[in-house]
């Protein structure tokens, strides 16, 4: 079992996400994370799916996704084949802060993006290992809320979306 990133380039069609996710559901495969957004080509969407399976399975998944009528292209990469980022937000109670937070923020290259009378919100972008590490530390500060995005990724391979769309 390995972690793979599946890229799906699709038409902007109602229900397309459902058509893609039922491919995983039917095979009893859990999606670790999923991100969807419009690509730089208007009307063309890009879905990034993170999944932990063996290579044989990821090939089957990609083949089945490509079979979906409104999918333009689907392909997969190992972690080494993509550059990716995740965004994490941490909400902390002001009452628990002490002098240690500054060092933590500096060490992790996090930043404070909101400060309210009762709480502050930190932001950190990075791989899961890194955002999780900060989470562990901030548990000592009575963390109120934690949210992490799915992976946004670009492939290292020199292929552009135009080659699929046209």
């Amino acid at each position: 079992m390995k972690r793979y990133t599946i890229f799906v380039i699709t038409e902007n069609f109602i229900g397309i996400l459902n058509r893609i996710t039922i491919i995983f559901t039917r095979r009893g495969i859990n999606i670790d994370a999923l991100t969807a957004s419009e690509s730089r080509v208007p009307g063309v969407h890009r879905i990034t799916i993170e999944v932990t399976v063996n290579e044989e399975t990821v090939i089957q998944l990609v083949n089945q996704i490509e079979k979906v009528i409104d999918v333009i292209k689907a392909f997969y990469h190992e972690d080494t084949g993509v550059v990716y980022q995740e965004l994490a937000l941490y909400k902390l109670p002001v009452s628990r802060l002490d002098g240690g937070l500054e060092k933590i923020i500096r060490d992790h290259h996090a930043k404070i993006i909101a400060a309210e009378p009762d709480f502050v919100v930190l932001e950190l972008t990075g791989h899961k290992e890194k955002t999780r590490e900060l989470l562990e530390i901030l548990k000592g500060y009575g963390i109120l809320e934690f949210a992490r995005s799915g992976r946004v990724a670009v492939a290292k391979r020199m292929l552009t979306i135009d080659s699929f769309v046209n």
């Binding site: 699709t10 038409e11 109602i14 229900g15 459902n18 058509r19 039922i22 039917r26 090939i59 089957q60 083949n63 089945q64 490509e66 079979k67 009528i69 409104d70 999918v71 333009i72 769309v165 046209n166």
Partner: protein
């Protein structure tokens, strides 16, 4: 261009533009505007009212399978639409082109749990090749055009178009433009010549090559290309369930049928060939048995249109992706002419074993009870060469398939992948209505026929001259066989108390006859086949006969049993 046309008329005009001359359906609230429009176009499009929406979709499947055209059915929203689901799933797994149009509540009511509202796009998603909801009148024609294109092109499949009532009653301008393709959907994959040469090299070196063909040959209209390839290569060839008819059984290279209840030699020798050529088939588990012991010794050449089927179940040494008419033609050019007499003799000698151990006992039995096999044996004697055999699911299906003498393409209509009981009667109706002059023989069991028996009403109303052969053993025979073999004869809920089928048929105005004695069988079959009109022949067969050969679940093809 029509400047001011009602949406419902656009639906019908679009169907006419797609040359849909015969459609099946059932009216109801949310589809009523379309039915109202049909009233005006009855001289251009024929509609058949079935007795249940499941009957409508199976009839559309029968029509599509026999004609190669897109089958069309109509249903209303809610229960009307959900009754199509089994047919959609069946058509998807058996690659049958369908366009199903369902009515839907008005767009402003969507999501409000309105009367007869159901999320049809959501429910039908896993059972369709493509589906869409149309909420605006101007989207009707483009959706139908795209739907027909998707249904019939590439690997065919079912499409569902859900049209809200407001779109049906609104007016707009109409001009029908057929869909000719779009960027996310590629239907033609040019065959890679390198893969053809690689395959030809393997075939030329092979000592025991063996070819399996499936429905892909029929869908690609590659029957002649297949025959030419076999004539030149001398390679023995076996068919899958849905591939039957793609090659005449009289062809010298034809060695039989594959799968759980297929023939002895074709299954057994799969594990002795050195090169296995699979054409337009998908290595279904009913064909392969235990995959880990399937053709491991062989180099596999897979000719297949759908890229997701390649390496799905069986790894291909060489995959030739594309239309198999094109790839078979190229492959025929690239191979050297050969004969494989010694290898072929292996098939023939095992065939003889099967004949002695199974076939003779089935076709010309000496024990008292009638066998299903002898009924098919008599049908073979009197049927036309292009007679269509429609079967349901179970023992009778396997027996009829095993013994029916297929000579022409599109003469085999059955529910293969999904195994839908209740398929046969409406499918036979649909096949018959495509061509009244064709002999359509519907072989069905006493379990399956009762799942859609209401379609006798449609046969009565349309006077479709279907020949219905009920093989009645008062059991759900295939399940009973498994209970006997694998569940210690614990016959749990498989015995049926049946109605008087003859009275029932006669109530529907269908001529009927019951045969319980061997001495009456031959004449009854002959009378049925020459009868001008629908005919119901009930044959009371031995209660506890089993279908053999058999590859038990989890067994290897080489463990095929004769008893």
């Amino acid at each position: 261009m029509d400047k001011n046309l009602r949406g419902a008329d656009m639906v019908v005009r679009s169907l006419i533009a797609e040359q849909a001359d015969l459609i099946f359906g059932y009216p109801g609230g949310a589809i009523m505007p379309v039915y109202d429009a049909l009233y005006d176009y009855h001289d251009q499009i024929k509609h058949v009212l079935t007795r249940h929406e499941q009957g409508a979709i199976h009839a559309a499947q029968g029509y599509a399978r026999v004609s190669g055209r897109v089958g069309v059915c109509l249903a209303t929203s809610g229960p009307g639409a959900t009754n199509l689901i089994t047919g959609l799933a069946d058509a998807l797994i058996d690659s049958t082109p369908l366009v199903c149009i369902t009515g839907q509540v008005a767009a402003h009511l969507l999501g409000s749990d309105a009367f007869q509202e159901t999320d049809m796009v959501g429910i039908s998603m896993p059972g369709t090749k493509w589906n869409i909801q149309v909420r605006r009148v101007e989207d009707i024609a483009p959706a139908i055009a795209k739907g027909f294109y998707i249904a019939r092109s590439g690997r065919p499949g079912p499409v569902l178009i859900d049209i809200t009532k407001n779109a049906q009653v609104d007016f707009g301008s109409f001009r029908y433009e057929p869909c000719l393709g779009f960027r996310s959907y590629k239907t033609h994959h040019p065959v890679d010549p390198a893969s053809v040469y690689e395959a030809a090299a393997l075939i030329n070196k092979a000592e025991r090559p063996y070819l399996l063909f499936g429905q892909g040959v029929i869908l690609a209209q590659a029957e002649t290309a297949l025959k030419q390839f076999l004539d030149k290569s001398g390679i023995p060839a076996a068919s899958t369930l849905l591939g039957s008819g793609a090659l005449s059984q009289d062809h010298p290279n034809f060695v039989g049928k594959l799968g759980m209840h297929g023939n002895y030699a074709p299954n057994l020798l799969t594990n002795q060939c050195d090169v296995l050529i699979a054409v337009g088939m998908r290595f279904d588990d009913r064909v392969t048995g235990d995959l880990s012991r399937y053709a491991k010794q062989a180099k596999v050449i897979h000719l297949e249109l759908d890229p997701s089927e390649i390496n799905k179940n069986v790894k291909a040494t060489v995959a030739i992706q594309g239309d198999c008419k094109e790839s078979l033609t190229l492959l025929s050019e690239a191979i050297s002419p050969k004969k494989h007499d010694t290898w072929m003799a292996n098939f023939r000698s095992l065939e003889k074993q099967e004949k002695e151990a199974v076939v003779n006992l089935d076709l010309t039995p000496t024990k008292p009870g009638l066998t299903m096999g002898e009924v098919i044996h008599h049908i073979n004697k009197y049927k036309a060469d292009d007679a269509v055999l429609v079967t349901d699911v179970g023992q009778h299906q396997m027996i009829a398939w095993r013994y029916f003498n297929y000579k022409k393409p599109r003469t085999q209509i059955t529910s293969g992948g999904l195994g839908t009981m209740g398929f046969a009667l409406p499918a036979a109706l649909g096949a018959q209505l495509h061509d009244y002059s064709r002999q359509v023989i519907c072989v069905v069991g006493d379990g399956g026929i009762q799942m859609t028996i209401q379609e006798l009403g449609t046969i009565m109303q349309t006077k479709a001259p279907v020949k219905i052969v009920l093989l009645n053993n008062n059991y759900l025979g295939m399940v009973r066989q498994w209970q006997q073999m694998f569940f210690d004869k614990r016959y749990s809920f498989t015995e049926l108390d049946n109605p008087d089928f003859i009275k029932l048929s006669e109530a529907y105005g269908i001529k009927a006859q019951k045969v319980s004695e061997r001495s009456d069988l031959k004449e009854a079959v002959e009378d049925m086949l020459i009868y001008d009109g629908p005919f119901f022949l009930e044959v009371v067969v031995e209660k506890e006969d089993n279908v053999f050969p058999m590859i038990a679940t989890g067994s290897s093809v080489e463990e095929v049993r004769l008893r």
